[in-house]
């Protein structure tokens, strides 16, 4: 779960990391009230989950109430990377003496969380890593043996800080480490971490992503509500049914699969053989009759879908139940699309029998590729053009 900046800052503040004074608002009137408490000038920061906010003009300044109302209205009319701006964070304007970077993310090589500090704050850290790797200082974090303050200090010293400032930054970084583990984050980033003209150390931005699997026990993060209408309606429907579904624009072949790997491989095969996947869908570990039916309904509703590949295994799941789910949808909707089912595993004979009764094409012992070829042939019969891709 990605957090909005204001949510992330609330968690960081609880972990002892100083953040600028400010509050989140949904309209100009509230903004003026917050600014009255803060004193002008203030900063207006669009609250969006996607990146590129700065370049998109999503951060503004206001020296007085009139400017604030004007800028707030402008920002609230903005979309950034397709995401509507619905909330603004109004904050005191900082006088920046120095911009640093501090972040923790999982290192794919060591599979350990890795602390990263850089004196080049404000820049994209991937850019720093590639262009000036010598300016990125890293420390692997063993969850069973977290570094003490002195080790953090050694890292911060390398980043060129000294004395009281160094100590304050090191303390903040140690709190960042605590926050990462306390809130079960996947990624946490403060970019920039500011030292202001008064020598205060402040998290001027906050990017947190909390592990979805931990939300059951991460009450604070779980309390941050998300409006599902931010999602595509079909994605929202899938999410409600706990189905992993990603919609792709301009596809013509829908997909119901059990297992992410099989789903991705199916998409690859569809592409290789001239189709364009319209969606990714993974039923996951618990493909009951109901969930299989729900998944098929979502794919049938996916715009542009002319053929559907259903690619399932009765491993954890059971072919008979899954076949019943498919049959239930077919009987109710009599969909016009071409459908090919490849399914084997536990109770496969019972499952096949159910589908055969509905005259659905079944690939019993063949491969995914054979199933894709069969579906593509059916689409061709119907005069559907491929995308021209040949992989």
């Amino acid at each position: 779960m990605k957090l909005y900046e204001y949510e992330g800052k609330a968690l960081l503040a609880k972990a002892g990391i100083p953040v600028p004074k400010g509050d989140v608002v949904a309209g100009p009137t509230e903004a003026v009230a917050v600014a009255a408490e803060l004193g002008y000038p203030v900063v207006l920061k669009s609250q969006v989950l996607r990146g590129g906010r700065g370049k998109a003009g999503g951060i503004r300044f206001a020296a007085d109430g009139d400017a604030l109302v004007r800028e707030a209205e402008a920002l609230l009319a903005l979309s950034i990377g397709g995401e509507r701006v619905e909330k603004l964070l109004i904050e005191e304007r900082l006088t920046v003496a120095r911009e640093l970077y501090a972040g923790i993310t999982l290192d794919p090589l060591t599979l350990l969380p890795q602390l990263m500090i850089s004196p080049s704050g404000g820049m994209d850290i991937e850019t720093v890593a590639h262009s000036t790797p010598g300016k990125l200082y890293r420390l692997p974090l063993d969850p069973l043996d977290l570094p003490g303050l002195p080790q953090v200090i050694d890292l911060v010293l390398m980043a060129g800080l000294q004395g009281e400032e160094m100590l304050r930054v090191a303390g903040t970084v140690q709190n960042l480490i605590r926050a990462y583990f306390r809130y079960e984050a996947i990624t946490v980033e403060i970019n920039p971490l500011i030292i202001d003209a008064q020598g205060r150390v402040l998290a001027a931005d906050a990017k947190l992503e909390i592990d979805d699997s931990a939300l059951g026990r991460q009450k604070e993060a779980a309390s941050f509500t998300r409006r599902e209408r931010l999602l595509d309606p079909l994605e929202a429907e899938a999410k409600a049914g706990d189905i992993a579904y990603v919609r792709m624009d301009e596809g013509n072949v829908g997909l119901v699969s059990g297992g992410a790997g099989l789903g991705m491989a199916s998409m690859d095969m569809i592409f290789v053989h001239g189709g364009v996947p319209a969606n990714f869908l993974d039923l996951g570990g618990n493909a009951t009759q109901e969930r299989t039916a729900a998944a098929l309904r979502i794919v049938l509703k996916t715009p542009g879908v002319e053929g559907i590949l259903i690619n399932l295994f009765g491993g954890i799941n059971n072919c008979e139940s899954m076949a019943k789910g498919i049959a239930q949808v077919l009987d109710a909707l009599h969909p016009p699309q071409a459908i090919v089912v490849k399914m084997r595993g536990h109770s496969q004979d019972e499952g096949w029998a159910i589908l055969e009764a509905r005259q659905i094409s079944i690939v019993k012992f063949g491969t995914t590729e054979e199933a894709v070829l069969l579906l593509m042939a059916k689409l061709k019969e119907r005069g559907v053009r491929g995308s021209g891709h040949t992989g």
Partner: protein, 286 residues
């Protein structure tokens, strides 16, 4: 021989009394696995399909040695179950459970390494040495005995490859699903190392996915330690859009790292036969 599991492997099932646990206890018994006990705290003294249930791993080990554990408890209980197995030095622990919190997986991995315990998973269908034994939840009958070793992040792709091979009369020595999560106990390199010296394994299939660095690390390993067996690889997700999460927690592509391209390129440089389709894989195994 095979690797990791064979006919002698004594297996316990942590979570045996749950719905999944009961079902897979039965399936293991049907596959003639030597199931020596179930473990469910608070249910010591019960039985599941004739298998005695104990309160803790230590209690089982008072009665019988244990070679492997299969964990099928709900996500919130995985950490405690894994610690139980690790503290009691069960050599092989297969964590089937999906949606294990990342930070629990980090702890499990760290503790297991310190204790010298091998973890497979989490989020895996497990390990099968067809015809011999399995510590996993795969339907045994779609797997056949033979000379091909399989390593895969994806459970269903393991099924797909193995069942395709079996239909074509090509059996497998051992199929290891290392699991779909970012943080896992065992990665491609570890299993390649095991297959290296297994006399029953003649070729190795490596089924990768976008995201993570396991395939790149496998490529580096193969380049640095010349491998005596043919390795054939397929990377799923070449056509997946970047920055979208494709179900598997480990499959996110971010900032150019872990792309299908980088994986395919590095594997090819290491001398691996990288195929573009699953059918091509079958042909390469002939």
């Amino acid at each position: 021989m095979a690797i990791l599991v064979n006919g002698d492997t004594r297996v316990i099932i942590q979570g045996a009394t749950g719905k999944q646990g009961q079902y897979h206890t039965m399936k293991l018994l049907e596959y003639h696995v030597r199931v020596v006990g179930g473990v469910t705290p608070g249910r010591g003294g019960a039985q599941v399909h004739g298998v005695p249930v104990y309160d803790t791993v230590a209690r089982v080990m008072k009665e019988t040695p244990v070679d492997a554990s299969m964990i099928v408890v709900p996500p919130a209980g995985v950490l405690a179950a894994a610690i139980d197995a690790i503290e009691n030095r069960v050599p092989l622990v297969v964590v089937i459970t999906e949606f294990v919190p990342l930070h629990d997986a980090l702890k499990i991995r760290g503790m297991a390494r310190k204790a010298g315990v091998r973890i497979i998973g989490p989020n895996t269908i497990g390990v099968i040495s067809p015809g011999k034994s399995k510590v996993g939840i795969m339907p045994g009958f779609i797997y056949g005995e033979g000379p091909v070793g399989v390593i895969s992040r994806s459970g269903t792709l393991t099924h797909e490859i193995a069942s395709n091979l079996t239909c074509q009369g090509i059996g497998q020595s051992t199929c290891v699903c290392i699991g779909g999560d970012m943080v896992k106990g065992t990665d491609f390199v570890d299993v390649l190392e095991l297959f290296r010296s297994d006399p029953e394994t003649e070729k190795v299939i490596l089924i990768g996915e976008i995201g993570g660095a396991g395939e790149e690390l496998a490529a580096r390993y193969l380049q640095e330690h010349p491998y005596p067996k043919k390795v054939i690889a397929f990377i799923a997700g070449a056509t997946a859009p970047p920055e979208k999460r494709m179900g598997h927690a480990g499959a996110m592509i971010s900032a150019g790292f872990g792309t299908a391209d980088s994986k395919i390129r590095s594997l090819k440089e290491a001398g691996v036969t990288v195929v573009e389709s699953l059918d091509e894989m079958i042909r390469q195994c002939r």
